[in-house]
């Protein structure tokens, strides 16, 4: 167990190095001079050369990467000239909003998907199964910004239940916070529901055919109890994995949703930094997001192993 975790962590080192290197190269190698971006298009050649010297942009790229990485490891991700703010504190201030809407969206997805999948497992191929299957199909084919616009149209313009923009901090006003993130969370939750439902349904139908379900039924356990106690529990492992792996792709969704609903999250920060050509900030956000994704995937791996003892046999 501990050996497994340690081995995973060791495997992560090259990936984390690669992730930081790629993020660094993306921002530094591609056309678009950082000094020019800071000084604006009217800057004189001497001023650009001076700033390049000052920022250390004349050194070889690998040296600059190592220099940057050394600072990053101590928590210094640089200074955003555009925002006049240090990079890391700005990101850390924005990140909780992103995490909140992602977690709420995932919660909505799970709360909806579990009872639906149980109902379907009791009567596979029934009308409910077909209906939910169709709904899931529709949800998966709907880009998030389109769904968000539809929700704005319905819940803010027509019924005026929830605001379409604005954000209230969780620590200032908890109910106001929920009110302000309701539509963003639903926008994320609908697609998550569709994905979770499809995975859970497939997994449950597969488990239904297993001998242990037959044994449970033979002992006289009711179909509902058999599904809840035996099928759902065994299928939940797959769901946990899907939820965890889904975190990375969901950051993409959060970028769109934060931009659409004007939420002050990390995605909104990324998009605005790109608009303002704030390369240092873009680099910081991209690195923090990617490292978070890698770490979440590690936790998912470990959770997967803890939940399903059978995996010991292959990896132990």
């Amino acid at each position: 167990m501990i050996a497994f975790v340690l081995r995973r962590i060791v495997q992560l080192v090259p990936v984390l190095l690669g992730v930081t290197l790629l993020a660094f190269l993306l921002v530094n190698l591609l056309p678009g001079n950082m000094a020019l971006a800071i000084l604006g298009p009217d800057a004189s050649k001497e001023a650009i050369a001076h700033l390049q010297e000052q920022l250390g942009l004349n050194q070889p790229i690998l040296l600059r990467y190592l220099h940057w990485l050394g600072h990053a490891l101590t928590g210094d991700f640089g200074w955003s000239a555009v925002q006049s703010q240090p990079v890391l504190p700005t990101i850390l201030q924005r990140f909780p909003v992103t995490v909140e809407i992602i977690l709420l969206g995932q919660l909505i997805g799970v709360v909806l998907a579990m009872p639906c999948a149980v109902a379907v497992a009791l009567r596979p191929q029934g009308w409910l199964d077909r209906l939910l299957g169709l709904l899931a199909y529709g949800a998966i084919a709907t880009p998030r910004f389109l769904l968000g616009l539809l929700l704005i149209l319905g819940f803010s313009v027509y019924w005026q239940l929830f605001p379409s923009t604005g954000f209230v901090s969780l620590f200032a006003d908890a109910t106001g916070n929920l009110h302000s993130v309701a539509l963003p969370a639903i926008t994320i939750g609908v697609l998550e529901f569709a994905v979770y439902f499809r995975v859970l349904r497939g997994e449950m139908l597969r488990n239904l055919a297993e001998d242990f379900v037959l044994a449970a039924r033979a002992k006289g356990i009711s179909p509902l109890r058999a599904v809840l106690r035996h099928v759902l529990r065994n299928s939940a492992v797959a769901l946990v994995t899907v939820i965890g792996i889904g975190f990375g792709p969901l950051v993409s969704g959060a970028v769109i949703v934060e931009s659409l609903f004007s939420l002050p999250g990390a995605g909104d920060l990324l998009v605005n930094s790109i608009y303002q050509r704030d390369a240092v900030m873009v680099q910081g956000v991209v690195v923090i997001v990617a490292v978070t994704v890698v770490l979440v995937n590690l936790v998912v791996d470990i959770a997967h192993m803890l939940l399903d003892p059978r995996i010991h046999l292959h990896d132990g």
Partner: protein
């Protein structure tokens, strides 16, 4: 299965086949119509110029004679704009998936078939790329390359290449263990020969059907980029950009956003459904 059982099963299986067949044709026709409308429509149909403003008919609703899908705030014909916009969306997603298929597919087959150090190196590189959420990577790449059809395609390829590589690698790993591959190797077949003659044909179906699913995802990323204003720039319209423009008038004239939204939705749904049917994953 006995002959009798097979005979009894036959009507059910046939109806299933038929249903799949009808659905395949249905979605296939939808896609062909949309593609034909986007690529040929502007030459064949009596469409207005997508940029031509007509303030007398601004914000016309769906069903207005002459503007069957309505007009936007500047009186531009939505039908014409959607068909022109579809070109960008389709070209970029098809291009990105084609790049993914060739580059990612090759890398994946090499990694899966060769194994060992080659596989380890390629796999770690893929892990690195997978750590970046698709849209985040595409946003960063697109913003630094500058907006154009070619650059947006390249930016989305940063997602499709690793996705394809993972798929092809898994396929190649499965095929590698089969006896006919072992036999070919024992007869002295070299890597290139075995790879192209035995591995590739056996993962080709998997790879081609996966394209349908991936095109759907690529379209969502492209539309997201355009929606954020970092896709192919105006005046060239794209579906995501049209939806973003319709956002301002969502309360007065929701059709401006919803008409291109419907085009996008139907196209993605058609690609997804066809992909699922072809992979035999459908319900």
């Amino acid at each position: 299965m006995t002959a009798r059982q097979a005979l009894e099963e036959l009507p059910r299986r046939l109806s299933l086949r038929l249903r799949e067949g009808t659905e395949t044709w249905l979605w296939g026709t939808v896609l062909v119509l949309i593609a034909a409308g986007c690529y040929l429509g502007p030459f064949v149909l009596p469409l207005a110029n997508p940029e031509a403003t007509d303030f007398a008919n601004a914000l016309a609703p769906i069903g207005t004679p002459g503007h069957w899908l309505g007009t936007d705030a500047l009186g531009r014909d939505l039908m014409s704009r959607c068909l022109h916009g579809g070109r960008v969306s389709l070209t970029v997603s098809l291009g990105a998936v084609a790049l993914g298929l060739v580059v990612g597919g090759t890398l994946g087959i090499i990694a899966g078939y060769r194994g060992g150090t080659v596989d380890a190196v390629i796999s770690r590189c893929l892990d690195v790329l997978f750590a970046f959420p698709g849209l985040v990577l595409a946003l960063t790449v697109a913003s630094y390359l500058g907006p154009s059809v070619r650059n947006v395609t390249l930016a989305i390829a940063f997602y499709t290449v690793p996705a394809y590589a993972r798929m092809a690698r898994a396929g190649a790993l499965r095929v590698r263990e089969q006896n006919f591959v072992r036999a070919a190797q024992m007869f002295g077949g070299r890597g290139w020969y075995v790879g192209t003659r035995h591995i590739l044909p056996n993962v080709l179906f998997l790879i081609l059907t996966y394209a349908f699913v991936l095109i759907g995802i690529a379209m969502v990323i492209e539309a997201g980029l355009s929606f954020l204003g970092l896709g192919v720039p105006p005046p060239q319209p794209s579906w995501g950009q049209l939806i973003a423009m319709g956002k301002q008038d969502i309360s007065d004239a929701p059709h401006i956003a919803l008409v291109p939204g419907a085009f996008l939705f139907v196209t993605i749904a058609a690609f997804n459904r066809l992909g699922d049917i072809l992979q035999g994953r459908h319900v």
